[in-house]
Symmetry: none
Subunit: 249 residues, 2 copies
């Protein structure tokens, strides 16, 4: 197998157990994925995993991030994994096999982040709001929650098994997560000024907007277009707010 998964970023969020970080790294090595990112892992877990016997290169080059937004900033597709238990999801949910096909296609064109939440609670709603959609391993209803290392292994197997990741030719570049987050922030600010955002539920509104922006499937160019639109609106609202005369800035 060639390193078809070179464009994949495996992102572990708030992982507690060093054995699970190590198990994820080992499965990555088995299937030729090389880029591991950790979002505020428990420090001890990260240190222990790094120094584990046989951890090797992959663990040594693992990168640590303070937030999900930073960890996925350079990725054009961000996918969260979930056991999809009782919690009501506000995202589109795809089965691994179906979602895997889309991810493989996207891997030919650019970077894809695949997120795994903590052992106890999985991904938070805030974490999920950075995702374009969610993916679920088809476990049985009675016992959906998987061991973290096993979940990573199964996802990578599904991505690697069919091999041929073809390079996309219909060259529409998708917006990166960083572009989308910038867009989200400008929209949120403009809506703050406009009175759309109620202070008491500001965080929920922000997450709602973040999800909505991800659902737009924006190209690079359209993200740019939207950013221009919203900045103009923001500027206009700002001058209205301050009562200042319009000016060049």
């Amino acid at each position: 197998m060639r390193s078809d998964l070179d464009n994949l970023r495996v992102v572990l969020v708030a992982t507690r157990n060093p054995l699970n970080i190590g198990a994820a790294a080992r499965a990555m090595s088995n299937f030729g994925a090389r880029h591991l990112r950790l979002v505020h892992p428990y420090e001890v877990a990260f240190r222990e995993a790094r120094s584990a016997v046989g951890a090797g290169e992959l663990m040594a080059s693992a990168k640590e991030y303070g937030t999900v937004a930073e960890a996925v900033a350079d990725c054009g597709l961000v996918v969260g994994t979930t056991a999809a238990g009782r919690r009501e999801l506000q995202h589109e949910l795809r089965r691994l096999e179906q979602g895997g096909r889309t991810i493989r296609k996207q891997l030919g064109a650019g970077r894809v982040a695949l997120l795994f939440g903590s052992e106890k609670v999985g991904l938070s709603n805030e974490d999920m709001s950075h995702c374009h959609w969610l993916m679920r391993i088809p476990t049985r209803a009675g016992h959906g929650s998987m061991n973290l290392g096993q979940a990573v292994a199964i996802c990578l197997y599904e991505l690697a098994r069919s091999g041929k990741i073809t390079t996309a030719k219909n060259g529409k570049a998708v917006a990166t997560a960083a572009d989308l987050e910038r867009l989200t922030q400008v929209l949120f600010e403009a809506l703050g000024v406009s009175g759309y955002v109620k202070p008491r539920v500001a965080a929920a509104t922000e997450a709602k907007l973040r999800r909505m922006v991800r659902r737009m499937n924006l190209s690079d160019a359209d993200a740019e277009l939207w950013l221009g639109i919203l900045r103009q609106i923001q500027w206009k609202l700002g001058t209205a707010e301050s009562g200042a005369a319009p000016k060049k800035d």
Copy 2:
């Protein structure tokens, strides 16, 4: 998922690490396999795995055997797993996906044993001699050897995934053309007030916005959401323009 894997017997041979026995049991529970058999496991490992937190029914009903022959005696098909490294194999070797299809077919007719060797050396030649054929998870050549718990999880996923699980249709209604046109108009008007639209190229800008809105692939609900957002902005811009005090409308 119904218990499509009821006829499957997962057979761990000479397993050393109780954590791996536990991990295998957990993956079995995730995918609805219920019958675990252990061939001369290290006694301590077996005892510890049995008493592990959350081990549950499946571990409690696990059966211990002295030999592979006894453990697979009632099975019509016996398949060994291997990393297929340097060792010369005297068996037919199938990739997991291909072998999985055959196993699934056989599971409809009778019992199938799936063997996993010890962490260090895998299945011995003697163990393998009890197998009809061998199966390999398609790991990369440079690092073929998998963690035992992860290997079990991947095999079970492959056997379970095609099981007739009805896909949830995410019956999201798409926005109608009328919705999209309303959205386009409100956006165009808001941008007119904000100064984004240059009068000389207004028609071209309108068309550009119309195309952009269509590219968003909006659902019914998201079109509604956007409409609310833009109307609020439009209202705010309007009051700014006219200098009027905010009012209910």
